[in-house]
């Protein structure tokens, strides 16, 4: 089958030296170029981001990953726990001691300050912190039984992003574009929309390509000004002078190359300079929101002070997906979901910034028929504990919740995902997932499957080992949420 062979060729020819710090693209280039050199020395190198057929029937063509780092509180947003109201104020320290990060500020069981209600045809529960998302419950599949293995942000985020609790491995987006390539050669295949207010925990390591070649790394797009770093000259130059200089440079490079036949890297370098020029046009166009209607801008909350920033990124995400970008990842600055104190006000603020834009994104994608081919993922690195986090003698209204690795929620919507379903369950307190537990590798396998990629067949061979996103951990595709 040709679908199989096209990807397998990708999978198999890359016998990389394990020690290479990131695979050597040039090395790969040379390998490929060596093969074609005899036929046509000037043929362009074949290693690129051309679209590739997936292993499995395509469900999602693109992904929008809304990464909510910090650990949103599942029992205050998605997973109602009436038992907490009954047991409010009772002590559970002994039971949870080994699972608490901040042992200096352990409180008692804390009920949710939010009210839960059922919504839509599906009757999915959602708290009143998310009024806009609540209108979309019939489009999403909610997993309430996520579990991870570390209760500290950094390792937990590495695990969620790369499948391992440390830096150095390809991120989720890198694997996807490695497997599928891109449908737009003038834009990066994997675009990161980080918050202008600051980087998330683990910073740029969140979108690194690890041992995959660097073009599979996420490219940061700024949502204001010049989208890509160094896309425009840092020091203003006149256009005419710039063109003149370009002409001189081209002359130098032509003369250099003419004296050096059979050097594929010189050709690759020139074609990359051309790509840089094309990117300049297309990236600028993708970020030009003046092409949108006033109603669209309003719906994403671009006129609202709190929603403007995240709304802009959600809208840009749609525009990128429209243009064939494979993987768009949205971040939010700092740790807005990390409500160690002031849970109620903190969660309200975090929701106020993101709820309307996300709902608008879902509506917009649906109206344009894009939701059928786009997978929208909302996920975090862990959840929070059912007990309060509060210091002795402090005002109960300042109480927060500490990290919890044993239970958290993620939701998916769009291509290939069942609509309006809830998967898995936690115990009565919401402390731990107990039913249909979904591990991080399960989650990776499932999302890859939705992209048409089989997690066992997507690998890079290094030192004789097949390195996969799910590693050696057993991973199960959560078929229950697949349409």
């Amino acid at each position: 089958m040709s679908i199989e062979s096209s990807l397998h060729r990708r999978g198999f020819f890359q016998h990389m030296a394990g020690g290479l710090c990131g695979a050597s693209l040039a090395w790969l280039l040379e390998r490929e170029a060596a093969g074609i050199q005899h036929a046509s020395p000037s043929a362009p190198p074949a290693f690129d981001l051309k679209p590739r057929s997936p292993h499995l029937p395509v469900r999602a063509r693109a992904v929008i990953h809304l990464f909510m780092n910090g650990g949103p509180s599942q029992m205050d947003l998605f997973d109602p726990k009436p038992m907490l109201d009954q047991l409010h104020g009772t002590d559970r320290f002994q039971k949870f001691a080994g699972e608490i990060e901040n042992l200096g500020s352990v409180g008692t069981i804390m009920r949710s300050p939010f009210k839960f209600a059922q919504h839509g045809q599906s009757g999915m529960w959602m708290s009143d912190a998310l009024p806009h998302l609540a209108q979309h419950v019939d489009d999403i599949a909610m997993i309430r039984s996520m579990q991870t293995t570390n209760l500290t942000h950094e390792p937990a985020i590495y695990l969620m992003q790369t499948g391992k609790m440390g830096p150095g491995r390809p991120s989720f987006g890198s694997w996807v574009v490695y497997g599928l390539g891109s449908e737009n050669q003038n834009l990066p295949a994997y675009v990161v929309l980080d918050d202008p207010l600051g980087l998330p925990v683990n910073g740029i390591e969140n979108w690194q390509a690890g041992f995959l070649p660097p073009q599979f790394q996420g490219t940061r797009f700024r949502s204001n000004g010049s989208p890509v770093l160094n896309l425009r000259a840092d020091v203003a130059r006149s256009a005419v002078l710039e063109d003149l200089e370009r002409g001189v440079l081209a002359g130098l490079d032509r003369a250099h190359q003419a004296q050096r036949p059979f050097q594929p890297r010189l050709g690759a370098r020139i074609s990359n300079s051309e790509l840089a020029a094309r990117m300049q046009l297309e990236a600028t166009d993708a970020l030009d929101l003046s092409q949108e209607t006033a109603a669209t801008l309003e719906s994403y909350g671009l006129n609202g002070e709190k929603t403007e920033s995240y709304g802009r990124r959600c809208l840009i995400a749609r525009r990128l997906v429209e243009r064939g970008v494979r993987f768009v990842q949205l971040y939010i600055n700092g740790q807005i979901w990390d409500n160690h104190s002031g849970l109620e006000s903190g969660l309200k603020q975090a929701c106020a910034r993101t709820d309307q834009p996300i709902a608008a994104l879902l509506t917009d994608l649906k109206q344009r028929g894009l939701l059928d081919e786009t997978l929208v993922i909302w996920s975090s690195e862990f959840g929070r504990l059912p007990i309060a986090q509060i210091g002795a003698g402090e005002d109960p209204r300042t109480a927060g919740r500490d990290h919890n690795k044993n239970a958290f929620c993620c939701w998916l919507a769009g291509a290939g995902v069942k609509k309006g379903v809830v998967h898995g369950a936690t115990d009565d307190l919401g402390f731990a997932a107990v039913e249909n537990v979904v591990t991080v590798p399960d989650w990776h396998a499932t999302t890859l499957q939705l992209m048409g990629l089989n997690h066992e067949h997507l690998f890079v061979e290094m030192n004789g080992l097949r390195e996969r996103m799910t590693g050696v951990s057993p991973a199960r595709v959560v078929r229950e949420i697949l349409a």
Binding site: G19, F93, L241
Partner: protein, 1014 residues
């Protein structure tokens, strides 16, 4: 009804298929085994171990899991040994074939490994094993459940419970902290107990303090779990402790597994035959036809292969090209324009050799070659992994040590000895000044402290976090020094190489006295938070002048603080007296005032009755608080505030003593357990220190002795280091010279630099590799000697031009029929930009320079006075990488970089074209060209080409360059005509000229010839 019919048909079909299969498979695949034709019949009833299973295993498995060889520590000869299992746990679970690794591995075709149709088990045989396990995995006359499990006490030892105590208790009741005088690391310690008595009463768990304290959750103290990196003891763990105490707390019969004179059952002599595990051989220099082309013996080896493929050497490079190549290779910098002129004018036959000597003598050489070493060891200036990305205050000392070692041409064996066991080479005392030699010894051990390390803070300082640090460090050791992917053996025996899991743990035992996951040193960060911490991960020793500077500064600041404090007190007393007088005047009748003054001066216990009465009446009213004093005397308040601010500043200048980031043996290590599947919660056998068996003859014990009489240190690492640098070591020298070769020739003789094992590449020129290894030894392991050999060879002097014939016959340059054209690395490029701009600040060593991050994410090294230092001295914060370095493939150290990648991506073009720093440096470059007054455009072009390309310009280039500069100037003038009128026309002309030159320079540094070396 229909359903049932279908079922029936289905069953029938399945039977049919089964019968057909049985006939075919049985006839072909099983025929050779003793099972013979009875297979189908045997399959029908309960399989018998001796009749059905044993012969099968004997035929297929015993070669590796039998009497002589026990791969993965697994012996499949008896049911008992299968139940006991190997390094991954039991091989079978009676009654549960699908949970039994034996069945899984065979069923999935993973065993026998690399199986062919001949060695593979047939489907029927696989089914047979399935059924045998399903039916209870019985051995005849002996139900499996009872196998050698009769007396639990027999199989118990102190190591049944010790791992639990090590994980959860010994951090406070162990080697360094001994709360309540209790040491739980040994049975004797438990029996002796602490302040509250014996920790255990053998045979009586209920009355053992240890058990009682744990049972009531008093220990470990729940509130301090994170601070000490421990977890609550689980019910299972507690049950194990109880059981062991109740069984009489047996010490047990155990010895750590170490290499002995007995043949090693896990690694065979056949395993040792692989080329990389054999010592480098003596090889004869081959005879070749084109003898005239030979510069030195290297060329004979290379030419021999070229000739065998109908090739010969490419012509020699022109002199300028060769000079630029060698200069970038050895210094990482381009030759200056003046050097190019002088070199080209020097037509003596040995001009090149003398130039090489100059390069090797340059202090820039150590910076370049030190950088290569820093890559493989994973040097970084921060700890990584955590968001704070903690700065490594003393990291630079190791960087400077490496540079120094290369500049001194330290012999490679000494270099490794120092880095692996410098602390054991010569005695030293902490908290003192040490000699330069001892300083280098200790700083060198920073090699073993390079891994990303999150363990400086509680939540990421649990045993598994520490084990990850150790594993990364083993990975670095393996890939940098040994050319082996050792890390694979952390969880199971290596898949490709004969490295049993045991050998990984023996290696960690070598490092145990310094890297002990159960006795982990606290970080400086923690020490700052908690005053009680005495021993930290930085060793307080330094060179005499540093200690003196530090001591002088400390004494000076302490004196200043003391003086300031006494001045403040005096002022306060005076100010207070004034205020007291005011109140006296206000509140006390005049006639009593003198008596009250006396009362205030008299200490309370010396007051007589009358004074006491006065005190009762007036003392409270007259006492003035600090706040009242400050409010009523503004002048004093200001004085006090200034004094406090100044004192704090001085206090901040009293730093902790200058220290070293190193690794040192602390003696008395914990036992080393093998962790089943790498999981610290499933400790297995105890091993002692040792080296990979495949690299030894398998019959020689690993001898460890204290490094010097009376040493506290174990000597384990010193023994290891001495083994690593043995002349006959199969890997150490080969791995090192292969890297040196790679950095001159673009790729290694073994292309997988960090993997000489079976999954790595075979050497393209095995004899050359061995000849070089032995020649390296002969030259006293001098790296500079090796450089001389390599760069003066005819192989190195070849041109990099590719002809159609070369492209056809040697497309990958596998035979070195030419030199490869190479792109400058990120550091070479950065440094070259600084050189041509004349902005390189030559101030080697010391603390690294900061990287500034702009709001939009652009990160740039911050300028210092005069420009910038070499890339080597830019701070290498793991999470803040300067954009230039990131774009041009500077490696992320996770944990190290055995080989850099070299990509060609669009962002590189964008960066060079648009980046502000590149623009600034182009402007500087242009100013340098314009500096000699009255130079013509042609002369400037000539100079610029000499600087940027290291050669003389051609006539065509001179013309084109001058024309371009003229065009740039005209255009600039046209654009600035309006604002030019207001100024001096000559000045305007000059500005135009400068801008034009700057554009020319910018084009040059953007061009391929600047970026690539022929």
């Amino acid at each position: 009804m229909y359903t049932r019919l279908f079922l029936l048909v289905g069953v029938c079909i399945r039977w049919l298929v089964f019968l057909v299969l049985s006939a075919v498979v049985g006839g072909e695949a099983i025929g050779a085994t003793p099972l013979g034709a009875d297979a189908a019949a045997a399959a029908a009833d309960v399989p018998q171990f001796e009749r059905d299973i044993l012969p099968l295993l004997e035929a297929k498995c015993f070669r590796c899991h039998g009497e002589d060889t026990r791969k993965a520590e697994l012996d499949l000869r008896t049911v008992a040994s299968m139940l006991q299992g190997g390094e991954s746990g039991p091989a079978i679970v009676a009654g549960k074939p699908d949970d039994s690794p034996l069945y899984q591995m065979i069923h999935d075709g993973l065993m026998p490994p690399e199986s062919t149709p001949d060695t593979r088990l047939s489907d029927l045989q696989v089914q047979l094993i399935h059924r045998w396990i399903e039916r209870g995995a019985a051995e005849e006359n002996r139900p499996s459940s009872k196998v050698e499990r009769d007396d639990p006490a027999q199989s118990m030892s102190v190591h049944t419970v010790l791992p639990i105590l090590l994980r959860n208790c010994t951090v406070c009741h162990g080697a360094h902290v001994r709360e309540a005088d209790l040491d739980l690391r040994t049975l004797a310690g438990m029996l002796k107990g602490g302040k509250s008595g014996a920790a255990i009463v053998p045979g009586d768990a209920e009355n053992s303090l240890l058990v009682r304290r744990i049972t009531v959750s008093e220990m470990p103290p729940l509130k301090q779990l994170i601070a000490f990196g421990v977890k609550p003891i689980t019910p299972n763990e507690l049950a194990a402790i109880r059981q062991w105490v109740d069984a009489g707390a047996p010490e047990g019969d155990w010895e750590p597994d170490i290499a002995s004179t007995e043949p090693d059952p896990l690694v065979t002599d056949a395993d040792r035959q692989f080329w990389a595990f054999q010592s480098p051989q003596v090889v004869a220099i081959p005879r070749v036809q084109g003898r005239a082309a030979i510069g030195n013996p290297i060329d004979a080896f290379v030419l021999q292969q070229l000739e065998s493929h109908g090739l010969t050497f490419s012509p020699e490079s022109d002199r300028a090209t060769l000079m630029r190549r060698a200069t970038f290779d050895l210094l990482g910098l381009p030759p200056s324009a003046e050097e190019v002129v002088a070199y080209l004018a020097d037509t003596a036959p040995d001009a090149y050799e003398r130039w090489i000597e100059r390069l090797l003598a340059s202090p820039r050489y150590g910076e370049r070659w030190g950088r290569h070493w820093l890559d493989v060891v994973g040097y970084a200036d921060s700890d990584g992994k955590r968001e704070q990305d903690l700065f490594r205050q003393y990291g630079w000392r190791y960087r400077d040590y490496v540079v120094r070692a290369y500049n001194q041409d330290k012999s490679h064996d000494r270099f490794l000895l120092e880095q692996l066991a410098g602390d054991e080479l010569a005695p030293y005392e902490p908290n003192t000044a040490v000699s330069p030699e001892v300083y280098d010894n200790l700083v060198a051990t920073g090699f073993m402290r390079m891994a990303p390390d999150p363990t400086w803070a509680g939540p990421t300082n649990f045993v598994p976090d520490r084990l990850d640090v150790i594993a990364d460090q083993m990975d670095i050791l393996g890939s940098a020094v040994m050319g082996l992917t050792l890390k694979c053996a952390r969880c199971h025996s290596h898949k490709f190489d004969p490295i049993p899991q045991r050998d990984y743990y023996r290696l960690t035992a070598v490092f145990k006295a310094a890297f002990d996951e159960y006795d982990w040193l606290k970080s400086n960060w923690e020490a700052r938070l908690s005053k009680g911490i005495k021993s930290v991960r930085e060793l307080p020793v330094a060179l005499p002048h540093e200690v003196k500077d530090w001591q002088d500064r400390k004494t000076d600041r302490e004196q200043k603080i003391a003086a300031a404090q006494s001045a403040l007190e005096t002022r306060k007393r005076e100010a207070m007296a004034v205020q007291v007088e005011r109140r006296l005047a206000d509140k006390v009748p005049e006639e009593l005032r003198e008596a009250v003054r006396i009362m205030l001066r008299t200490p309370p216990d010396q007051r007589d009755r009358a004074l006491q009465d006065l005190a009762a009446r007036y003392e409270k009213e007259l006492s003035i608080t600090d706040k009242e004093l400050a409010q009523s005397d503004m002048e004093f308040a200001q004085f006090e505030a200034a004094s406090v601010t100044q004192t704090r500043a001085w206090e901040a200048e009293i730093t902790s003593p200058p220290s070293i980031r190193g690794l040192w043996d602390r003696g008395d290590p914990s036992p080393t357990y093998m962790y089943r599947r790498g999981d610290y919660l499933t400790p297995g056998r105890i091993v002692g220190p040792g080296v990979p068996s495949v690299l030894t003859d398998g019959r020689t014990p690993f001898r460890v002795e204290p490094p010097h009489p009376g040493a506290k240190s174990t000597g384990r690492r010193l023994a290891f280091a001495r083994w690593i640098v043995r002349e006959d070591h199969p890997l150490t020298t080969r791995v090192y010279i292969n890297r040196v070769w790679k950095h001159h020739f673009g790729s290694g003789l073994v292309r997988t630099l960090d993997n000489f094992g079976r999954a790595g590449a075979k050497p393209s020129h095995p004899e050359l590799l061995d000849w070089l290894a032995r020649e390296f030894m002969r030259g006293g392991r001098s790296t500079k000697h090796l450089h001389r050999l390599l760069v003066t060879s005819a192989t190195y002097r070849q041109s990099s031009s590719v002809t159609p014939a070369l492209a056809a016959k040697d497309p990958d340059n596998a035979y070195w029929s030419r030199m490869p054209m190479q792109r400058l690395s990120s550091d070479q490029l950065y440094d070259a930009l600084l050189v041509v701009a004349n902005r390189l600040v030559d101030r080697p060593g010391g603390r690294p320079d900061l990287v500034e991050v702009r709001n939009d994410g652009l990160s740039t090294p911050r300028a210092i006075t005069g420009g910038w230092r070499r890339s080597l001295y830019v701070r290498q914060q793991r999470k803040i990488v300067a954009t230039h370095f990131e774009v041009f493939d500077f490696p992320a150290m996770n944990p190290n970089c055995p080989e850099r990648r070299d990509s060609t991506v669009a962002l590189q073009a964008l960066h060079l074209w648009n980046d502000a720093l590149v623009q600034t440096l182009s402007d500087s470059f242009a100013r340098e060209l314009g500096r000699p007054a009255g130079t013509t455009a042609r002369q400037q072009v000539a100079l610029s080409i000499r600087s940027a390309y290291g050669r003389e310009a051609t006539e065509a280039e001179l013309q084109a360059g001058a024309r371009a500069i003229g065009q740039f100037a005209d255009q600039w003038l046209a654009e600035h005509a309006a604002d030019g009128l207001a100024r001096d026309p000559q000045d305007t002309q000059q500005q135009a000229q400068q801008h034009a030159l700057s554009l020319w320079c910018h084009a040059l540094v953007n061009s391929a010839e600047f970026l690539y070396v022929d």
